[in-house]
Point group: C2
Chain length 760, copies 2
Amino acid sequence: MNVVGVSQKRQDSPRKLTGIEKFAGDLRFPGMLFARPVGSPSSHAQIDSIDASAALEIPGVVAVLTADDLPIARDANGNPYKTPIAQGEALWAGQIVALVLAETEAAAEDGALAVVVNDSPLPVVTSLSQAMDFSAPPVRAHGTAGGDDEASMHNADAAAKDESEKETLPPNATGSTHFKRGDVAAGFAAADEIVELAIYSDTVHQGYLEPQACVVNIGPLGDLEVYTSTQASFYCRTRVAETVGYPVHKVKVTPMPVGGGFGGKFVLIEPMVAAAAVAVNRPVHLVYTRMEDFVAGNPAPECEISIKLGGKKDGTITALEVRSVFDSGAIGSAPMEIGMILLGGYYRTDNLDIRGYAVNTHKAGGGAYRAPGAQQGSFAIESAVDELCARLGLDPVDFRIKNCVIEGDMRPNGRPWPEIGLKQALEALREHPAWANRAESQKAGRGVGVAIGGWPGGVEPATAVCRLDADGTFTIVLGSSDLTGGNTAFAQIAAEALDIPLNKVAVTTGDTSAAPFAGGTGGSKITYTVGPAVLKAAEEARQQVLSIASDHLEAAVEDLEIADGVVRVKGVPDASISLKQLASMSMQVAGKYEPVYGKGSTAITDTAPGFAVHLVEAQVDGDTGAVELTRYVAVQDVGFAINPALVDGQIRGAVAQGIGWALYEGLVFDADGQPLNPTFMDYALPKAEYVPYIETVFVEVPSVHGAHGSKGVGEPPAIPGPAAVANAIRSATGARITKLPMTASVVLDALGGPVATAAD
Amino acid sequence: MNVVGVSQKRQDSPRKLTGIEKFAGDLRFPGMLFARPVGSPSSHAQIDSIDASAALEIPGVVAVLTADDLPIARDANGNPYKTPIAQGEALWAGQIVALVLAETEAAAEDGALAVVVNDSPLPVVTSLSQAMDFSAPPVRAHGTAGGDDEASMHNADAAAKDESEKETLPPNATGSTHFKRGDVAAGFAAADEIVELAIYSDTVHQGYLEPQACVVNIGPLGDLEVYTSTQASFYCRTRVAETVGYPVHKVKVTPMPVGGGFGGKFVLIEPMVAAAAVAVNRPVHLVYTRMEDFVAGNPAPECEISIKLGGKKDGTITALEVRSVFDSGAIGSAPMEIGMILLGGYYRTDNLDIRGYAVNTHKAGGGAYRAPGAQQGSFAIESAVDELCARLGLDPVDFRIKNCVIEGDMRPNGRPWPEIGLKQALEALREHPAWANRAESQKAGRGVGVAIGGWPGGVEPATAVCRLDADGTFTIVLGSSDLTGGNTAFAQIAAEALDIPLNKVAVTTGDTSAAPFAGGTGGSKITYTVGPAVLKAAEEARQQVLSIASDHLEAAVEDLEIADGVVRVKGVPDASISLKQLASMSMQVAGKYEPVYGKGSTAITDTAPGFAVHLVEAQVDGDTGAVELTRYVAVQDVGFAINPALVDGQIRGAVAQGIGWALYEGLVFDADGQPLNPTFMDYALPKAEYVPYIETVFVEVPSVHGAHGSKGVGEPPAIPGPAAVANAIRSATGARITKLPMTASVVLDALGGPVATAAD
């Protein structure tokens, strides 16, 4: 293989590196209005009136729209379809209560500041314990838009859930899960050691560079043209269409380049912006400010997990008991179920009892963030396992190798794992000098922690097209957004199949009016599911090319080869036809050959879970609690790296995000539900200087269905970070930290105040 | 059949009837400049300098560009690729010599008026006889852009030409044809009567409502986005790409609604506008004024035909001799060859000798106009046949039925006709009351004339896609432009194949980045060649739908039917699944079915020629020469009318155009090549009041390859009009008129001045 398995530059890099990429927010249409949201001052209130009079006097302000002014259709239950705008009742501080539309961005901003919101505050539910209280006031006093199943679009396990058991839930619970196997009481009775931890994780924002951005233009017949930073154009089309009550054919979604999505950009503002455009019959442009994205986005949810893990001195796990509560926010969803499946699914145990709950609170709707639910669940189990090993004096890597699941082992939901590379990744780490020589780290006063993370991987049917063009090059036409270089990988797959150089393949992500279907770019599924579709399409195109050449050259297909831009008879260099000539013969007047148009479809239902094993070396400043990461090793089963540089990039980016989860990031609210740090001045993303050099190690356990054995690689490396860092801190200081983020003050508290550490 | 064969409203009618369609000229992009051409004052001149200083002082004028400023690449011969802008040498009066670009249309217009062209006149060649002179000065003093083969894109016969004989040609001849069969001298010797006519036809403009219009936007990476009123988006992409020297992937052509094309909108201004956009790195908008379209468009060519036809009293044709000269203009092409093939191809004759020439003159480049070449050639042969019958006292319909070609008869180029419906159409006319009772017309002082017209029909490979959408409806994705309701016909074909209502099918014409290939919408080929592709795609989609339903319902495919939006087991109404559910199962997370995506390709090489037979009843005012058409019957073999109303509309529009050719239209030039009537005030299109009620009669001789037997219907009815009108005038007055248009003064001259006519 010449093209796949080799690092290639991303085809979209030049335009991004030079800053000339055009994003949704850069678009301008004649007559376009700029929208600026007015946020609710209260975290829960009846909106009595919106006084727009002062705003409307500002030159350039065209309209101030509330939900009542927007043509938002109602679902079968009579509820308006979900948008971020309040329907008479503000459900969190900063929820959009009105949109100011103006001829300029400045006028819209001035207008938003001039709008007066008159409201009557209602009781507020902010904490998860409050939300689980049977006597708590309902978060939604009136029936307004509920949650959705977006989180389930990231993994096949959650989508396949089957709720056979029902318990009575508090009024603000939106869902629950209960997985049970064996007898946990007996299991704990048989344990030599029992670890009980109370895990907490803050709300975390996806932190994408480009905020939510969408422009909706109106076609001559009133059709909507939605230009948006979306990971999922077809899903976005359906959501916009149902919101405004249009047939899907009257909505065209053009997926624009995404300046970071990480699960947070399936659909959020598009239905609201579309409704606003319909309301005023003009194009409408909305790009969130950073603060709006913090307060009215769809961040990863806060959660609390109580975990109890029992084990024996021989390294056997005897029982696992868990109770978790995940925050759905006011109108979102929570990836609780998949979090619990993973928490209880990494290790074999005969006895487990896992309960999970999702609850509404007065916060922005919860959303998906790169491996949604896995970070929190994995932080719980990987902290508990590490603590158990520490207390029993067991080697944590050997313990994991002994207990980790392999093909055929059951997940909590009763579904067996397919072939996975977890054990191989653990074995690779065991051999790595960073682990093998960990005694040296410890001598230097540094702790070494290890944790794993796995992701089931999403699957969704997809179609790809491979078309020969007039100049003898090929175009791959897809319906999937390219977030992280996927289109470059697809070009590699096609070039390899067609025996042509990479630069002879262009990849087009079409709009929803003409593109073949693909699901959202999320859940680590695009390379895994679209890749084989591209391969099939390219192979079909190749057969069509060879068939034409066979007829033209009067040679058998099996005697032909494609090389140097021509199809030629093997061993007879003069008997050839160029791809350009061949294109011409199939696309010209009176041409006798059909156009080359290969199609490939997949409907893969077998998932290809990916696992990462991370090692962190850390030292802790005993005076301040500050944690410095001094070494980072990321081992991962990637199936097959179609483009090693891109896989490497995925891992490095994910590790940085994991470090953010571990040490820095968390949206904080006061008791009234007011956000305290919704800016990048106050909300700390890890800067480059806080991310150590990352050593990546690929393990390649090929998947059955992925092109060349590839599998999704985006989400697994975002998972182990928090637990690996916590375990390194435990290794360095003996302190077990169970709250994310593990800021210096949290660590200092856990140490019991300023102390001398081994690193001093 | 429920959906095809039934008149259905055009899907694009509402937006056109209500005036809300958005055409290319309606587009606006940020930073866009309006272009206004500066036309050459001389019909042939060396351009010494362009003084733009005054223009550049006008506020809003940004640039004045000449060919030297445009990045126009050169072809393999070192010549710049063809654009309408002069390359140092002005080749006709009104040729674009500079483009003024300005922030507003008004500034561009003022700027164009302020540009001073300093040139040195060169000798002018305007008439066809001058152009055939061996001592004439060359039309192109310097090697500049030559012709192209656009005319050949309209029919398969011309494209398949094989020039085996070469004669020495005068310097301004661009091509020649010689068809020979038998012994014409012997044929004429055996004739009882010989008709010799000198036919002349003016330059005729396509007369579309929307002038040439194109906007070129520039993407972030410098990619060109061409929005244009084109009949042929893929061909346009190739032409633009080669002109600016880009790979085709860096050019995206979005075909906009075409406000009338009639062959004149394959490609004309797009390469020039693209080069201008590249030159200034800003979007450029050019919409021709009506006058620009007259002087710098690509009209149907002037031509002269000498025809000599011999026949016997028994109705046998003994010989046909023809010499024709067609005008290519300065940089265009002429459909001389196909004109000659048709002229000599309608009737069986053992002896023929046909020579044709195409020549350059100092006029705008010749282009294609609905059945290019056929109007002129048919006017010649159908006038001669009518005259022969009149002189021999033969019934002109019986004569045609006796002599007309049927399947297997040879065309002048030695290619046999496939099955055609000419004879059936003539027989249908013979039975029509307008012909059967023609004596009554004659009693009323009216003449009755008949003429035929045939078109070989184009073929070109094509691909179509049929996609199931989220709401259970289908989308047909195509690369062909919809000029005359083709997309409605395709929706009918798909709906019929899928057993769904017509309103459940949308048809999308995609841009060149994502659409499957189709040729230009011209040559009466789109329904014939894309239709079967749509049918195959829909049938494949249907099979995919049934296959999914079969698995889901656990029933054999052959027991299933599609009806009422569901797939159900025949006779078991409860065993069903809706198309929407089926769409969901094939396009959702963890879906186990591949997306429904049917593909159909065709590479039909057998043409399906179409024939029309027209009858005109006319009366002539002997005092003025004015001709009034009092009855019009249009009989046509349409193969199968997928949408009778649309076929009817095609015929009515074509008849009106034929009446324009016959009586009103002609671009007139003075001896210096200056156009005398380039406005709709002076150039007469037939108004509604001059077009009589048209009776249409369909004959359906099914084609072998067209969907349901359909064949192209657009061009045949545009052909017979001029001869039918001339023959009616002959019938009414005895005068044979051989010059088009047959204006009142031409008729009066032919009558020998004011005379009493039978109609008085």
